[in-house]
Amino acid sequence: MSAARKSSSIPGSDDITRVELANGIVVLARHNPNSLAVTLRGYLQAGSLFDPDDKLGLADFTADALMHGTAKRNFQEIYNALESIGASFGFNSGTHTTSFGGKALAEDLPLLLDILNEGLRTPSFPAEQVKKLRAQLLTGLALRAQDTRDMAAMVFDELVYREHPYSRPDDGTVETIGAILSDDLADFHRQVYGPRGMVIAVAGGIPAEQAVEQVRAALEDWANPEQAAPPELPAWQPLEERVSKRHVIPGMSQSDLVVGTAGPSRLSPDFMAANLGNSVLGRFGLMGRIGDAVREKAGLAYYAYSGLGGGLGPGAWDVAAGVNPANEQKATELIFQEITRFTSELVSEEELSDSQSNFIGSMPLSLESNGGVADAMLNMERYGLGLDYYREYPARIRAVTREQVLEAAARYLQPDKLAVAIAGPPLEP
């Protein structure tokens, strides 16, 4: 038997190294002596909230273009460096932040940091590469237009968020992506990219102090005096009545539907109660009460579950299902029945206790891989949860009561103030 060291302990303040560099970048690192590999992940404050309305998708396009050429390497050289050693790395933009991530054998962490550093600081946005990338993004949008799940989610965001920035698609539209030029990407990069608010996590087969020093050597001298502060998120205006919209895509076999509204942010005090409630509603076992009603009992859908976005703002709390077009109404009614019950009656003691046990029991599994640990460290930093959050997690979960669950459910999911978004083929008369 090998002398592998058991790393059973959950990450916490005594085995995570957290350092704030002089330019504001926060570095988190944890050593996994059993791993030959390393995962590097992080984010910076460069999300689609910065996109002008006529250039939706700008943050996303910029993030995608960072690895298509830098002052030091062209596209070919960047990917040659990564792929020839079996490493991977990429940037990806979301609403609030642009994230990055990759993995390599542990001895190759310096290369990942070089690629990160060059992408962040010296992207060159070569016109030829930008043109190729635009064609790829436009094809992605053409496929999105044919995807019932994507389109139902987009219609849902439009219905729920209306004037709020969350109503806008992070990947833009055919018109806006077609209008974005190399100079737009360079301008966005110059105005928005910078070290302030950036977080980097490293987990894997490298001692934490070494990882921190490698990050420091690569990025501590980065400065951008022009870096803009993230736009303030406007208040979300709750729906005043039930709203619905059906988006038609000819030729489809199945319809996808989304029912819900905005839920609590991750920072909200009732987030944990909502999260446990959501598990009862549409996650636990074979997808909770929703899965039981829509899939198991009625046989209407292959997938039916609920989701709680959380995040820095009012992310969605919704129920999604894929159904035969003839069953859209029946499935929607069942979903409303379950939401009405969920928002008017206490969940049972057994239901809450089952979901609590599931949350607590599954937490170590989510921390098994280097990627899982890196994500956990980023999560603690992003939401200010404290480095011992996962150690205290069981007690926090156990502290949630049935009354708190009902209160959160009733606060957010009022059945007469929800949106119903459907994408599917034309309905037969």
Binding site: L82, T139, Q146, Q254, S362, E368
Partner: protein
């Protein structure tokens, strides 16, 4: 780390691998049944039986077993493929006995109640309709149908719609009874346990289950096609997809590793792990000649480890301004280049390094390690996985050239084009 490998007197194969880095155990039960065991009329039966395995036994009634596992924080699922059906639970080490009891029970005791079969019929039809919304599924299905004349690899795992509409409860139950028996199953576990004690527990749970008759197999070797076949799939959308599917080889074939290297050079390394992401393929030959030259916006390749020769496929997402024939000509040009001259040794070294890295990433997950124990046994034995990197490293440039000549000939392929309705025929 050593693997304990044994077989019970009822034929159940067992593989146990101790990994003490984290207090987790992943437990898998593999059944040697998949879509390759389905005759016409019963396509999709293996997958449907997998669904029915969640519908309850006397001991674990429907609606109970999922809760029991989830309550203990388990990560669990099941999957059906062309050669196999697998069930797994990854759980905190002290809780795994529940997973063991559940799988031992439902291997032979599932209820298959008629009303549950009826409600699952519409669920599975809905699953298929969800697939049909995806143009690549439609193209894949047509290409697969054209790629084989008799072998059941010709149909998709989900099954044909007409069979999903007509199959009866008894058809499914007979399929279950025919294939679900200890002598047709593999139990594989990796994680934080003591192998001898675990083996003892497995004997207690499975020892009394009798062996079944050896299952009859419908799959027969099929000769290579004599000429290229072409299919056009029509459907909604704007984007054209091209799929070239070459008759490949089984995973035990000595050439499997040479063809793996050819795949890696052409389209980037196929990632055989199922619980760990793959690598980008932007320096691969096909990406360079198709995407960088603006003929396509994406390309991928896939070689799978299978019992019978299946397909090596290349999928291309076309650039909106190009014609299918130009793209196919460029694809053929790249393949001819590999057939005409052996690759450079440094290209091979790079393919090996990429696989080493993928192995290192895959080993982070106990679930992925347990997956390999059983998966490799399905088409060969676990040593196949243990020797994988070594055998890849032994491949020579001439081997790759020879594999490309032998397996990537246009005569043995199906060439499919997804042609969106309303978009003018590009060719």
């Amino acid at each position: 780390m050593d693997v304990l490998k044994t077989t019970l007197s009822n034929g159940l194969s067992i593989l146990l691998k101790e990994i003490h880095t984290t207090p987790i155990i992943s437990h898998w039960l593999w059944v040697r049944v998949g879509s390759r065991d389905e005759p016409d009329g019963l396509t999709g039966a293996s997958h449907w039986v997998e669904h029915m395995q969640f519908k309850g036994t006397e001991q674990f009634p429907a609606g109970q077993l999922d809760k029991d596992i989830s309550r203990d924080g388990g990560f669990w699922n099941a999957m059906t493929y062309i050669d196999w059906t697998a069930y797994f639970e990854t759980m905190p080490a002290e809780k795994i006995d529940l997973g063991l009891r559940l799988e031992a029970d439902r291997l032979v005791n599932s209820n298959f109640e008629s009303d549950e079969v009826a409600s699952e019929r519409t669920v599975i039809i809905s699953e298929r309709q969800g697939h049909e919304n995806n143009p690549v599924f439609r193209l894949d299905e047509d290409v697969q149908e054209a790629a084989f004349d008799q072998h059941p690899y010709k149909h998709e795992v989900i099954g044909r719609m007409r069979d999903l509409e007509s199959m009866s409860r008894d058809d499914l139950f007979n399929h279950y009874k025919h294939f679900y028996a200890p002598n047709n199953a593999i139990l594989a576990m990796a994680g934080d346990f003591d192998s001898e004690k675990m083996l003892e527990r497995i004997r207690e749970l499975y020892g009394d289950i009798p062996a079944g008759p050896a299952p009859q197999r419908v799959a027969q070797p099929e000769p290579l096609p004599e000429s290229e076949r072409r299919v056009v799939t029509q459907g909604p959308g704007e984007t054209v997809f091209i799929k070239a599917a070459y008759r490949a080889l089984d995973a035990r074939d000595a050439d499997f590793f040479a063809l793996s290297v050819a795949d890696s050079l052409l389209a980037g390394p196929s990632n055989l792990n199922i619980f760990s992401g793959g690598l980008s393929n932007k320096t691969s030959r096909l990406y360079q000649s198709l995407v960088e030259k603006e003929l396509a916006v994406g390309v991928s390749g896939g070689l799978q480890a299978t019992i019978d020769p299946f397909l090596y496929d290349i999928t291309i997402v076309m650039h909106p301004e190009r014609k299918a024939e130009e793209v196919i000509a460029a694809l053929d040009g790249e393949i001819a280049r590999l057939q005409d001259s052996p690759p450079k040794p440094e290209e091979l070294a790079r393919a090996v390094k990429q696989s080493q890295a993928l192995f290192a990433y895959g080993s982070e997950s106990i679930t992925n390690q347990a997956f390999w124990l059983g998966f490799a046994e399905i088409f060969d034995e676990y040593a196949w996985f243990e020797n994988y990197l070594q055998r890849l490293a032994e491949v020579t440039p001439d081997d790759v050239q020879r594999a490309a000549q032998r397996y990537l000939s246009p005569q043995t392929r199906v060439l499919g084009v997804y042609q969106p309705n309303g978009k003018a025929e590009a060719a």
